[in-house]
Symmetry: C2
């Protein structure tokens, strides 16, 4: 019975992968044991390897045939990878590509047995809208991706709360939809009555003075084009990694704009960069909490922090959450299996949105 | 004065390019004379070249430095290209990628002096919506991209005509938006009052029995989710290349569904494949026109055929259009500078939509 469910979950997950735009042909094959087999045509190359998140698998070939390799069993979740052909690092021409690692990266999405909350299901489907808008500060056109729940169109008199949801470093406004499956996660939760209907705005965050762009350009655009409830009580900000740092440095610092904050897998509390995890100090990095915990908690409906258990940021993040709690913050901390990748972020979003706008 | 306008047009075009998602860093540089300079990091490679639509430019390097090449002046328009590193054909890690050539391809968009109808402008902007829907015949989830004009949201009582617009072979549902700039073309025309407000549905056409999918799955989904006018008079079909063949074989053969047809750069009239341009015969390939030209014209508000002057399909297409005219069809034929690429398709769309739904 258990085996059947595993098989069914894998089938479902594979159907979801093959339905992705661009996944038209071969590409890597996920085996039953969650190892992955790659095949590359590079007849004149001397050396070919697959680099999956910096773990390198050298490929071999017979005669002039294609280069092949089968990996160890991979952890469930979404892993960027590259081909390295005679030292040239390229995405896989056979794979679906995603914007990540500051380029168009190939990726493999390993299903997790029994986990289907982010898969496409037969429920009312919302849509994701590409909103073009001019940024006066950047003097360029930008495109925000905006998730809109299915019920929005049939309730013309109803207004909605908004979650501003940021991608990680080297990703862009497409990440939370394409890699993260945000629309499927929300559609599935809404069908089960497990979260409030909301808009989710996903925009490109590694641009200019992003606080200025978000507060003075993006939010007014969204409030003018959509039926939002334009107050802090009905506005949340969350992000992963680099975007989690922005949720801290922009979202948490503007309680008059956002009442709920989610910080997923970010070591950058208070602006400390990745890898440079100076001991977290509530006193210096969140003095408003120390000064008046009651006022801080009253201003924040949800204050959520999460991290993957295999993420190098886990210890720093856990300690920061404990220090925040000790200082009186009503903070919710969650840890998930997995490293610094999309499976913990999908789970964080799935948990976070269920707490919002109650 | 002329030089200034050329310069201004180039500036505008470059701004549009840099605003594309994913175009965050280096990538190819378009020079003033419309040549393009490429730079590739591949220190261990023995041989590197740029392949632009099968014209190959070998790259050179000094010592262990990056590989570089500057092309001839390129024709204005959108050109897919690949890097060939020791015989391995890859997309350029530094470029914005697009789904084309049956893979995620790098591309360079050469501006055309004085031509700005497809650039982002300060006009009311519509949006493009990703619509997820289940295909019973394919047993998979599909994503249609749907252009919605800016006025749609503020006219809740108004219903709209629909253009079904298909991509070319090896492209997908993202092509008409990302490569084709459909939303900018429509937004600009609407701002000038030069076309009727309409929805444009862009879906993936190289899948299963596409006639069945389009007629029995996509159109009902669109008519149920959007405020359409669900009759033939207010429905058009157009496509480029492979998608133009589908406009012939599906759109023109179903006058009870579509009243206007656009066929851009397709040699495939009546199902003849590319490169196999058997002499076009109206009698065998469109007998309903020969039988009753008046009825045929009465059923078709717009019958539009176009091709690039540098496209190998031009002679076949021109002859077919002449034969159709000789048989009594009220067909409009346009030819544009350029080969088998997006600049003639952008111009074809721009002209075609101005004729629709009058």
């Amino acid at each position: 019975m258990k085996k059947f469910f595993l098989f069914a979950a894998l089938l479902l997950a594979c159907a979801a992968v093959s339905a992705q735009p661009g996944m038209r042909r071969g590409g890597p094959r996920i085996n039953d044991d969650l190892s992955v087999s790659f095949l590359v045509q590079a007849p004149q190359a001397r050396e070919v390897a697959v680099d999956i998140c910096n773990k390198v698998y050298p490929m071999t070939r017979e005669g002039d045939g294609p280069w092949t390799v089968t990996t160890d069993a991979l952890e469930p979740g979404f892993h960027y990878y590259f081909l390295v052909v005679d030292g040239f690092r390229a995405s896989d021409p056979q794979a679906t590509l995603y914007y990540g690692c500051s380029t168009w990266a190939s990726a493999i999405d390993i299903p997790e047995a029994g986990v289907d909350f982010y898969l496409d299901k037969d429920v009312p489907r919302g849509d994701v809208r590409l909103e073009r808008y001019w940024s006066p500060s950047l003097k360029t056109w930008r495109t925000a991706w905006v998730y809109v729940p299915a019920e929005y169109n049939s309730n013309p008199g109803k207004r909605y709360p908004v979650l501003y949801l940021q991608h990680g470093g080297g990703e862009d406004e497409t990440g939370w939809t394409r890699q993260g499956k945000t629309d499927a996660i929300l559609d599935n939760l809404l069908a089960e009555g497990k979260c409030e209907p909301m808009l989710i705005v996903m925009d490109y965050g590694q641009a200019g003075d992003f606080a200025k762009i978000l507060l003075e350009e993006t939010i007014p655009m969204v409030d003018s084009r959509f039926r939002t409830i334009p107050d802090a009580k009905h506005r949340a900000m969350a992000g992963l990694s680099f975007g989690g740092g922005q949720s801290w440095s922009i979202g948490l610092k503007h309680p008059e704009v956002f009442s709920s904050i989610g910080i997923f897998s970010s070591g950058m509390f208070g602006g400390v960069g990745p890898g440079a995890y100076a001991p977290f100090s509530v006193e210096s990095q969140l003095p408003e909490l120390v000064a008046d915990p009651k006022a801080f908690n009253a201003a924040h409906d949800v204050f959520y922090i999460s991290c993957g258990l295999g993420d190098p940021r886990i210890e720093h993040t856990r300690k920061a959450a404990e220090a925040l709690k000790a200082a009186g913050a009503d903070v919710k901390f969650s840890a998930w299996p997995g490293g610094h990748e999309w499976q913990p972020w999908r789970k964080s979003l799935h948990e976070f949105v269920q707490m919002l706008f109650k």
